[in-house]
Symmetry: C2
Subunit: 516 residues, 2 copies
């Protein structure tokens, strides 16, 4: 393994877990050659003519799928912290004496701390996906055998589509399915909305297992996952813990600081002329984002403006705007509450999307580049507007990338962030981990001022006569440091514990082991 300085100045390895890697070459610079993953041709003659692909247990399905040492296994985060299937899969793998598996979740949650024992015992070699919370801590401490690889939702689709990651066995937990394998997330007691994060796996994995606690006779309509891509189906008592499925912040913030951030962000969008008839936006979950959506609603009502579409993460506030007619369509990648689930089930204008339609950078375009305004978070931002979303300022890997990188490709990207967290400034000379290149980040909104990326002269011009507290990012940094002092530099070990992929599969940065 050799380290190479990539186009954003970070030293990244040319190899990860024994596979050659390409360093980040700049936004839109890396042009993939070659073809998408070619999957084996199947024959209907090898599948049950009556369409009944049921097996009595996940264990049997894993054995029939040919589970063996070193395989790559995928699961998905549609049930978020209420997922119980991923843990069961690796319990079975451990029981069967498997070693060196690679786990490719679409995201991980605290409930997956259960898997640390298998990372320790060698059942799981490494994780390619998000390493949140306890798994992130474990990784940061250098305890994972292999090197973790973090990808965005779109990057995960890209990697599977392009054959960078070959999934041997995909286990798709579904709120409703039929014995043939058609499955959806809009009905059943574990309804989570949609199953888009499993799309790539269903299309490209060698073996696909659908697990459900609500088996209905064929046809399961709608079929968000197509049974024609499925090998086996399994009926279980429970696929997820309903009350934990809809987690995350689903209430608008009541914190005065966050409300201020939200109001300033919405006001910026308004005064910069971004909120106009037919516009589109994506705000995501979290109290601040939800509040911004509400402020958008107020502005739209006042001005008689309608949005053509909002990208979800949907929630009750967005659904309300759809039903009120303020938004014509919700193009939804993930429902964050039960109102989102209901609306997707009932309203044809609330449409499920997938990382393929919305985020995949290696397609013939994607939805996200068309979105006018995107509101995102960040743990740190540097003076070039480069931002971090995976590590905290203590250097520990604590978040996945989610759709964050993909959303950066939207027309205007706004990060409402507090100027400091726990008295640690968020704007720094250098971020701990670069997840997004500054050229794609347009506006930083803090409680003490708004910084516009100098590249966005149009936004600078549009707001220069406004009453908004526009400042330079340098000014904001100094202001924070005047209050909190300059943050100490974190000391890392040399060892690379995880790599951050850019949306095109190149390596934009790495995470190093924290010093004891």
């Amino acid at each position: 393994m050799k380290l190479i300085k990539n186009a954003i100045g970070r030293m990244v390895p040319d190899e990860l877990n024994g596979k050659k890697q390409v360093p980040f070459q700049g936004v839109g610079k890396y042009k993939p050659k070659g073809v998408k993953a070619a999957i084996p041709i199947r024959s209907v003659a090898d599948y049950p003519a009556d369409g009944d692909k049921r097996l009595p247990s996940i264990k049997e399905a894993l054995i029939k799928s040919g589970l063996k040492d070193g395989m790559t296994i995928s699961t998905h985060h549609h049930f978020r912290n209420g997922d119980i299937i991923a843990n069961q899969v690796f319990d079975i793998a451990a029981e069967l004496g498997m070693k060196d598996l690679v786990w490719v979740p679409s995201a991980s949650f605290p409930c997956h701390a259960h898997l640390i024992q298998y990372l320790e015992s060698g059942v799981i070699h490494h994780i390619e996906g998000s390493m949140n919370g306890p798994l992130g801590q474990f990784t940061s401490e250098g305890k994972m055998t292999g090197t973790g690889i973090l990808r965005s939702h779109g990057g995960r689709y890209q990697a599977i589509q392009d054959g960078d990651v070959h999934i041997d066995i995909a286990i798709i937990a579904a709120p409703t399915a039929d014995p043939f394998g058609n499955a959806n997330g809009v009905t059943g007691s574990s309804a989570c909305g949609l199953l888009g994060f499993a799309l790539a796996d269903s299309q490209y994995a060698d073996k696909v297992i659908v697990v459900t606690d609500n088996m209905v006779p064929f046809p399961c309509v709608p079929w968000q996952i197509q049974g024609n891509n499925v090998d086996y189906t399994v009926e279980v008592e429970q696929v997820g813990i309903p009350e934990k499925i809809v987690s995350g912040t689903t209430q608008i913030t009541r914190s005065p600081d966050r409300l201020l951030l939200a109001e300033l962000s919405a006001s910026f969008c308004d005064q910069a002329g971004l909120i106009k008839d037919g516009f589109s936006f994506q705000a995501g979950a979290g109290g601040t984002a939800l509040s911004i959506g509400n402020f958008f609603g107020d502005i739209m009502r006042e001005r008689g403006i309608k949005a053509r579409f909002a990208r979800g993460g949907s929630n009750k506030y967005l659904v309300q705007m759809l039903e009120e007619g303020l938004i014509e369509y919700i193009l939804d990648g993930q429902t964050f509450d039960l109102e989102g689930v209901r609306s997707m089930r009932e309203n044809p204008n609330h449409t499920d999307t997938s990382p393929f339609t919305s985020y995949n950078y290696h397609g013939k375009g994607n939805f996200n580049t068309m979105v006018d305004v995107v509101i995102l978070g960040a743990t740190e931002v540097d003076l070039d507007f480069n931002a971090n979303v995976v590590t905290h300022s203590d250097g520990i890997l604590l978040h996945g990338i989610g759709g964050w990188q993909n959303c950066l490709l939207s027309k205007t990207v706004i990060l409402p962030i507090p100027l400091f967290r726990d008295r640690i400034p968020v704007i720094r000379d250098e971020v701990t981990t670069i997840c997004g290149p500054g050229e794609l980040i347009d506006v930083i909104v803090t409680e003490r001022g708004i910084a516009i990326n100098p590249l966005r002269k149009d936004l600078i011009d549009a707001t220069k006569n406004s009453d908004l507290p526009i400042k330079s990012i340098q000014e904001l940094k100094l202001e924070a440091e005047r209050i909190c002092g300059a943050p100490a530099k974190i000391e890392f070990d040399d060892e690379i514990v995880a790599a951050i992929k850019w949306v095109d599969g190149t390596i934009i940065d790495v995470v190093r082991k924290i010093k004891e």
Copy 2:
């Protein structure tokens, strides 16, 4: 080129248009090796960030797509005899001086007689698709430069998916689309229901052009064709002639002979115990099929039976049964009338399907093997129940295969056919062209008796004490010949003008040039 006797006794070539071929090896016997077609990886960086892929004309789109001699071009029959785009595409190709193109329509109609001039002038080398009516006559006369290849709807998906046919440029005419290329068939003045026949092309063609006369702002919802697979979009005055889109017989038959066939078929299904709670059926279009659907409805109402699903071709009668609650779902591959279009647009239980979900033999199962009862037609049947659906008894190629072969894989296949047509017996020692192996054809219903395939002992047992006029197929044949005389054998030239593919891509039979 060498001729080989295939598993059903027909002499078929080992090569067609310079490509190696596999002879039919028996139902379920040919196991494909290798992988699906691998398509080039694209980059979002090469597509407009605002999602606007519009070009001013089809001509410009073809030029930008790199149209050149020898390329394979596909169009689709969603507008049936009201299609105007396929003709325009080849007018442009001729104007640009193109030669030796291969046309891969999902089906052809009499409106495509316009293309005969290009088959004559060498713009089109040969057709892979259906050669109906005038194009069939032209082909049968040995006038096409290359050899025609006929595939079922499922076989077309299989061939494109497996890379047997590589589409260079797909032109998808759509009733509604957005500039990004999302498209559907349920809205717009040319609404035709769905666009499933273009799915394979959108997924596997090098260049995909969507043409519409109803361009809406992004997003076009639902997106039956995904803009993420589309290269260019073109807005035109008109994509189809609405009054010709909904063609075919859309009224139940009033012919007493056909009504008798329909009633006998329905009565057979009833007495054989095939019509039971939760069953499924596919009847298709055509006066007799529509009548059978109606008779099914009567039986179901009388017995309080509900069907779990009906496969469409949908029509107003099927829609009525759905709305009445006699059918829970319509899984629809093609809407045959405007009621079908309306229902698909409005009713979530009337779902669009594709040749991938329903018919593709090289997937992990398909819908059609799960259908309980399928009603189909045939031009000829032999004593082994082998049937012909593409040539008439005069040897001329006049029909495409459609979904006919695919439907043979259903649980029970019933062919209601008249014992003779124009005083020519339909049951023969040998059919002109074998399109479907007799082992898959279960029941022949004629106005003078019903023959059950000896392989279906269960059906023979179930109906042996019924009042149905059960006879052997030999008896039926003799009865026809007593009335009409034994048909003369047709004389053919040696030249092979077209080949018939089985659902797995092997050659089941050929069509030879007719003698002058």
